[in-house]
Amino acid sequence: MRAAFAGGGVNETLDPHLANLFNEASRAKAMFDKLADYGPDVSIQPRLAERWEPSSDLTRWRITLRQATFHDGTPVRAADVLYSYARITDPKRAFRAKASLDLLDLPNSRAVDDRTLELVLKRPFAEFPNALAAFGAYIVPQDADSFERPVGSGPFTFDSWQPGRSLLLKRYDGYWEGAAHLDELEYLISNEESARVNALLAGQVDYAHDITPTTARTHADGGRMAVTRMPNSTMQSLAMKVDRPPFDNRDLREAMFLLTDRQQLVDTVLAGSGQVGNDLYGKGYQYYADDIPQRTPDLDRARFLVDKAGARGLRIPLDTASVASGFVEAASVFAEQAKQVGLVIEPALGNKDTYWKDILNSGVLASYRSGAMPIETHISQRLLTNSTTNATRWARPEFDALYTKAVSSADEATRRQAYGDMQRTLHAEGGFLIWGFADFLVATAPRVGGVSADAPANTLDWARFDKVWLG
């Protein structure tokens, strides 16, 4: 089977710890495994780890490995896991999963035997399995540092590679979860969406990753392609910085929440391929507070709040860039909506290559999006006083305390309660105006089966090929 993805060009890498782009993530999961991964509701599913057992104080985790082998036939051992985590957290390097695994106390962690390891944490952490499933936390064989010909434990083995062009993989018959259906899987690269779609229509490829809603609609009835929609994939939002004017004013933030016509944004910006948001991250994910009623537009109250904040006619720059599909469109639709309550939102187009860093500290309002991750991870990366990517500048000691309470409790009900409380606060007065969740769209030839339709982007079953078949 031939799958077309966007990619990084001739200088791409097969190092799974460096995976960043969609095709890199997909290739990493084809050739490697993590100890755990995200299920369809972004809860944690055991993978190479068969089970885990924390000590009562949540600082020591005993992990039992599944009986699995690398492609060269050697078993996956505790030593491989320790090596992989040491590589990822090497202070001299900058792997993406490092932040998630930084709480590991590796010098004190040890292999009990080949299939058992005891991982020691620097502090109690009930959600440690989230770290095992972190983006890029793949297990590689001990001492592997060159990935020109990768050897992993995943469902496909490396065959040949032309960087920036093609990666050919073969089925690994010894895969622990059962061999894949496909004999061969070839990754092809084009950053041009139209090229991926044209190649699919002409039968040159069987799978086109990441297509636009417009393409999906154009070819919906042609019978030449099938479109799989993966809901709740991409959070679409505006980030208000709550530590500075004008959005340090709680009334103004509420006015922003209330003026937003979410359905209109979903219908126009996402061309209907998505769902409205409720200013909360992680719709459909584990611990999502779906008991909080959906917010609907209330222009009268929004106008009242704008006046109360003394903000009528206020000009507010909205940083945006064509860094993600729909950003610029959403900014202009939102500006129109805001006009109705007397706010002058002025979209300002920034540099797309440096956008994410630019909006981290400067500006007051910015287009924002996020792929799937557990709600706990979203909070720890973005909403704590010491979070490193806190784009809304949300810093509340009592909120931090709630988080600490959640992650240091072994009791699931306590955690759920704490996550619920945090979400209620964010819904009432947080800095993220989350207006929608975009579907992730994949197009396949009609003869392709087994593409999961309920896996948000970044979860295990998304861009996964060992369950896919050609009819």
Binding site: R2, A4, G8, G9, V10, N11, E12, T13, N20, P91, K92, R93, A94, R96, K98, A99, Q162, P163, G164, R165, S166, E186, L188, I189, S190, N191, E192, S194, A195, N198, A199, L201, A202, Q204, V205, V323, N351, D353, T354, W356, K357, D358, L360, R369, S370, Q381, T388, T389
Partner: protein
């Protein structure tokens, strides 16, 4: 000035040009906001991570230091290591260069005989029906931008009729020449107009010129007069234009590469710029600059051979 001396002078000038271009490119890429570390960090701009990437890539060194290091390596024939793949640049660019080279060679092989023949046909009867048709079609074709033509051809022949593959996805270009047909048509469209127009004009000029009139007086007529006496003079300006076309093709025509998925030098350059992979951008600039200098030198020498009495055109 003798030919070898002239060529040596031109080569020296070319080296200077290459050095100048790389310096300008380095300064310009430095002026871009954000470095490779920021681009690599993407939507996860953890400041500690950006700092670590920067240190790992030696981006924390001052710019002049990195430029000097790069230049020293270049003088040793080492184009350096990509910031993104951490692999030698030459290793990864070889395939891109091969794709671009192949596409350029095939284009030129079709272009030259076809365009020159068309130009001569049009010149046979100035203002005749054939001349008018060729002129009209040329001007019309010239007005269509490459990407528009590419999209049209793909939609009609690639997707609707299914006669030709719409992209070269993953194909070995030599093993499946069919994938080259549509890109070839797009690449030919404009050069065929310019080259045939120039050939026509050159022929008309040459036929009126003293050299051909003298040949006529000597009793030389027909195809011998056209091919042996008129054509060489007519081709001198054509060769200059052909050099420009060759240069354009060898740089990798980005639009054509992107739409047809031919990962050549144009694609490599776009990727390198968007990832701020400065050593790769620099390597590509050196490559393109050297190509330009060499192609133009060859063109001048050929023009000199073709029309010695007119001397070197530039």
């Amino acid at each position: 000035m003798s030919l070898p001396r002239y060529a040596a002078g031109r080569l020296l000038l070319g080296l200077g040009q290459v050095a100048g271009i790389t310096t300008i490119v380095f300064v310009l890429t430095e002026a871009l906001p954000g470095d490779a570390a920021v681009v690599i960090a993407g939507d996860h701009p953890d400041p500690a991570r950006i700092a670590a990437i920067r240190a790992q890539l030696d981006l924390d060194q001052p710019a002049w230091q990195r430029y000097l290091d790069w230049l020293t390596d270049l003088l040793r024939g080492d184009l350096g290591v990509s910031l993104i793949s951490q692999r030698p640049i030459v290793e990864r660019l070889a395939d891109s260069a091969a794709a671009t080279l192949l596409l350029a060679a095939v284009t030129l092989l079709v272009l030259v005989p076809l365009a020159v023949a068309l130009g001569m046909l049009a010149a046979r009867r100035e203002g005749g029906r054939l001349d008018r048709v060729v002129s009209a079609v040329s001007v019309a074709l010239y007005a269509v931008p490459e990407f528009a033509l590419a999209i049209l051809l793909i939609a009609v022949f690639g997707v609707q009729l299914g006669w030709l593959p719409p992209t070269a996805f993953g194909a070995d270009l030599l093993a499946r020449p069919a994938v080259l047909v549509l890109p070839l048509l797009v690449l030919l469209a404009r050069p065929i107009c310019t080259i045939s127009r120039l050939t026509r004009a050159g022929m008309l000029d040459a036929l009126r010129g003293e050299h051909v009139r003298h040949a006529r007086r000597l009793g030389i007529t027909g195809s011998r007069l056209w091919l042996r006496h008129a054509l060489p003079g007519a081709l001198a300006p054509v060769v200059q234009q052909l050099a420009r076309t060759t240069d354009w093709l060898l740089g990798g025509v980005i639009v054509v590469e992107a739409v047809f998925v031919i990962p050549g030098l144009g694609t490599a350059l776009v990727d390198a710029v968007s990832t701020r992979d400065i050593p790769t951008v620099q390597a590509l600039c050196v490559l393109v600059a050297v190509t330009t200098v060499v192609v133009n030198l060859v063109a001048d020498l050929v023009a000199f051979r073709l029309a010695p009495r007119t001397g070197v055109v530039r």
